[in-house]
């Protein structure tokens, strides 16, 4: 389900609208993921505080959204553009790729919550496809 030109334009447009709140979206989505899907906490056992709104969650939410923003700029070649991140996830972090779907779901819930008027079904489908392709690019080097 690769990204059409329309998908890419839609993703860039919605990113323009939501990027001012990127840090908030990242922190919220990560907090929700840890709450609603407790199995994801296993990757963060080294954090002192895993509750939503905690300092490590906020900080890491920002990191994640920074990478999402970077992916938007590299939307024409996600596999090439995210090669370094893929190596990080494949060889160092070794996060099970199922979790990319889980995080994507929570990002979508938060975007829908914060931008109900803008996150129409048309926008939703393009964003969903984008996250799927992003996840694939991140998993590229796994095996």
């Amino acid at each position: 389900m690769s990204l059409s030109d329309k998908d890419k334009a839609t993703v860039k447009a919605i990113w323009g609208k939501i990027s001012p709140k990127a840090d908030e979206i990242g922190a919220e989505a990560l907090g929700r993921m840890l709450t609603v899907y407790p199995q994801t906490k296993t990757y963060f056992a080294h954090w002192a505080d895993l509750s939503p709104g905690s300092a490590p969650v906020k900080k890491h939410g920002k990191v994640i959204m920074g990478a999402v923003g970077e992916a938007v700029t590299k939307i024409d070649d996600l596999v090439g553009g995210l090669a370094a991140l893929s190596e990080l996830h494949a060889f160092k972090l070794r996060i099970d790729p199922t979790n990319f779907k889980i995080l994507a779901h929570n990002l979508i819930v938060v975007i829908g919550m914060l931008f109900p008027g803008d996150f129409t079904p048309d926008v939703h489908v393009s964003v969903d496809k984008f996250f799927q392709n992003l996840a694939l690019a991140l998993a590229e080097k796994y095996r």
Binding site: H105, M113, P116, T120, D122, V125
Partner: protein, 147 residues
């Protein structure tokens, strides 16, 4: 058997008390048909589904969305035995409608997003957790009579 805390029961009751079926039902069904277009396979008799605009103005989609959402009332009223409450509906979806159970999950996700968009910040992480647990139990119950 599924164990619900008092807090979870309260959250679910609260969501349903604020739910506008004629708004959320259509929106959720429209969203699943647009975001996951292969779900349209089950609605060959619904007329024009050729674009997002067509889906969003299709009266059959809207009517059916409301019906489907009311289907959740059964779960809300029988939270301690959702599995059995949905036995007949599960058989219907399997034997008569031939719906791939993965679609229940897709619709559940779209409904979650519609509810989140309607409730805004009152859809906290804890509320989301309770809601997703509830809807996962319904999805599981609906998937049970597939053989």
């Amino acid at each position: 058997m599924v164990v619900w805390t008092d807090q979870e029961r309260a959250y679910i009751k609260d969501i349903f008390s604020k739910l506008n079926y004629e708004d959320a039902g259509p929106k959720a069904l429209q969203r699943v048909l647009i975001v996951y277009p292969w779900t349209q396979r089950y609605f060959g008799g619904f007329g024009n589904l050729y674009s997002a605009e067509a889906i969003q103005s299709n009266p059959m989609v809207a009517a059916h969305g409301t019906v489907v959402l009311h289907g959740l009332d059964k779960a809300m009223k029988n939270m301690d035995d959702i599995k059995n409450a949905y036995a007949d509906l599960s058989v219907l979806h399997s034997e008569k409608l031939h719906v791939d159970p993965d679609n229940f999950r897709l619709l559940a996700d779209c409904l979650t997003i519609v509810i989140a968009a309607t409730m805004g910040s009152s859809f906290t992480a804890s509320v989301q957790a309770a809601w997703q647990k509830f809807i996962a139990v319904v999805v599981s119950a609906l998937s049970r009579q597939y053989h």
